[in-house]
C-alpha cells in the first residue's frame, strides 16, 4: 500500500480522477498542505487499529469544490436575532415619531415614512442596524460607527444624503438620492 500513488477524485465531474506522484507533484504538496489535518486524522484512526500506521500513505483524496469564503453578511447572521430585535426597536421608534414630539418639534411625516422604508430594506438585506437621531423636523439621521469611521445617512422626505467621516476628514458625501436608489450607497 505504501507504493500506491494517491488518486484525486473530483465529485462534481465524471472524468476527473488521476494519479499523482507524491514526490514530484506540486498538487500533491498542495494537498498535503491543504489537507494535512485530514491526513493526520486518518493516521490517528489507523493508529488506533494498527501499530504501524506510519507505513500508510493516503490512497485517495476527494477534493470538493472550495467552500465559499465566509462573507461578512453570513458571519453576521450569527447576530441575526440581535439585528432583528434592534430593527424592531427602530421600527417602534419611527412609529412613535409619527405622533410624538421630540425636542419640541414634530418630525415631518414624509421623513418618517421614508426612514421606515429604508429601515425595512436594510433589515431585509440583513445589514447592520443604525442608531437613530433627528434634525429638527425635517430629517432623520441613521448613524453607524465602525472603528474610527462614522457613517451618517440623512433621510428627508423621499430622499437620502450621506456623510462618511474619519480622522477629522469628510471622505465622502452625497445628497438628493431618491429613496428608490438605495443601491447608490453601494449596498452589498
Amino acid at each position: 500500500m505504501t507504493t500506491t500513488q494517491p488518486i484525486i477524485v473530483y465529485p462534481d465531474s465524471s472524468a476527473t480522477y488521476y494519479s499523482i506522484s507524491p514526490e514530484s507533484s506540486d498538487l500533491y504538496r498542495a494537498l498535503l498542505v491543504d489537507h494535512r489535518s485530514d491526513i493526520q486524522s486518518h493516521w490517528n484512526m489507523l493508529s488506533s487499529v494498527t501499530a504501524s500506521a506510519s507505513e500508510f500513505e493516503p490512497l485517495l483524496f476527494i477534493k470538493t469544490r472550495p467552500q465559499p469564503r465566509q462573507t461578512a453578511g453570513s458571519s453576521l447572521k450569527k447576530g441575526g436575532e440581535a439585528f432583528r430585535k434592534k430593527y424592531t426597536e427602530l421600527a417602534g421608534q419611527l412609529k412613535e415619531l409619527e405622533t410624538k414630539e421630540r425636542n419640541d418639534e414634530l418630525v415631518e411625516a414624509g421623513a418618517v415614512h421614508t426612514a421606515a422604508i429604508v429601515i425595512e430594506e436594510f433589515s431585509r438585506r440583513d445589514l447592520a442596524p443604525p442608531e437613530l437621531s433627528w434634525i429638527g423636523s425635517e430629517a432623520i439621521i441613521m448613524l453607524w460607527i465602525l472603528g474610527e469611521t462614522k457613517y451618517a445617512l440623512t433621510v428627508t422626505d423621499g430622499e437620502l444624503g450621506y456623510v462618511v467621516r474619519a480622522k477629522g476628514k469628510t471622505l465622502r458625501t452625497a445628497h438628493s438620492i431618491p429613496v428608490s436608489d438605495l443601491d447608490v450607497l453601494q449596498i452589498t
Binding site: 445589514l127 447592520a128 429638527g136 423636523s137 444624503g161 450621506y162 469628510t170 450607497l185
Partner: protein, 194 residues
C-alpha cells in the same frame, strides 16, 4: 468667521441638556449639536457660553441649569415629569474650531446675551441650498465636525435635580462618556461600499 467680540482663541462651552444631546439615555457626540428648524432666513440656531465671561466651571453650570429651568417652565415639566429637561454638564472647544465655513455653509458665533446671560453665545448655522436633502446633509456633516472639536464633558447635577431619580447622571453616572455604541462588525455589513 464672524468674531464680533469673540476672539478665535476664546474658549466656548456647550451645555449638555437631556434629552436633546442624548440618544436614548446616553449623551453622544453626534447629538451635541442638532441644528433644527431654520428661521425665516434659513439659519439654525444653537447656544453656547463664552468662557471668558464665565471663567469658572460653576458659572457655566449655573447658566446650564438656568437653560434647563427655562425650558421646564415653558413645558410645565415639574420634577419627575417625563417631559423634564435636565442639565448634565458642559463641553469646551476653541472658538475658531467652531466658527467654520464651507462652500455652502457658515457657522457664526455672536455674543447676544440671551436670557440676560452676558456670556450667552448664539451659534448660527447658515446653509445655502435649494435642496432640502442637501441642507439636511450639510447640517449633519457640520454637527459631526463640531462634535469632534469639543472636549470631554464636565458633569453636573443642578441643585433642583439632586433628589430626582430620573436625572440621567443618577441612573447612569457614565452616561456622558459612554458614547454612541461602536459597531464591531465588518465594513460589508454596512449599507456603504468601501
Amino acid at each position: 468667521m464672524t468674531v464680533a467680540v469673540i476672539d478665535g482663541e476664546d474658549e466656548i462651552a456647550r451645555c449638555i441638556i437631556f434629552p436633546k444631546a442624548f440618544q436614548a439615555a446616553v449623551h453622544t457626540d453626534e447629538a451635541l449639536f442638532v441644528f433644527g428648524q431654520s428661521d425665516a432666513s434659513g439659519v439654525s440656531h444653537e447656544s453656547g457660553v463664552l468662557c471668558r465671561l464665565a471663567p469658572q466651571d460653576d458659572e457655566i453650570h449655573r447658566i446650564g441649569c438656568g437653560i434647563a429651568t427655562h425650558q421646564n417652565d415653558r413645558l410645565q415639566a415639574e420634577p419627575g415629569s417625563p417631559k423634564r429637561r435636565y442639565y448634565c454638564g458642559f463641553r469646551k472647544a476653541t472658538a475658531k474650531d467652531v466658527a467654520i465655513s464651507g462652500e455652502k455653509f457658515r457657522v457664526d458665533l455672536t455674543l447676544d446675551g440671551e436670557g440676560g446671560e452676558a456670556a450667552h453665545i448664539d451659534i448660527a448655522l447658515s446653509v445655502k441650498s435649494d435642496s432640502r436633502s442637501e441642507r439636511a446633509t450639510i447640517k449633519t456633516e457640520v454637527a459631526l465636525v463640531l462634535a469632534e472639536v469639543f472636549g470631554p464633558a464636565v458633569p453636573h447635577v443642578c441643585v433642583i435635580d439632586r433628589d430626582d431619580a430620573r436625572h440621567p447622571l443618577r441612573s447612569d453616572p457614565e452616561c456622558l462618556v459612554r458614547g454612541t455604541p461602536r459597531f464591531s462588525a465588518l465594513q460589508s455589513s454596512l449599507p456603504f461600499g468601501d
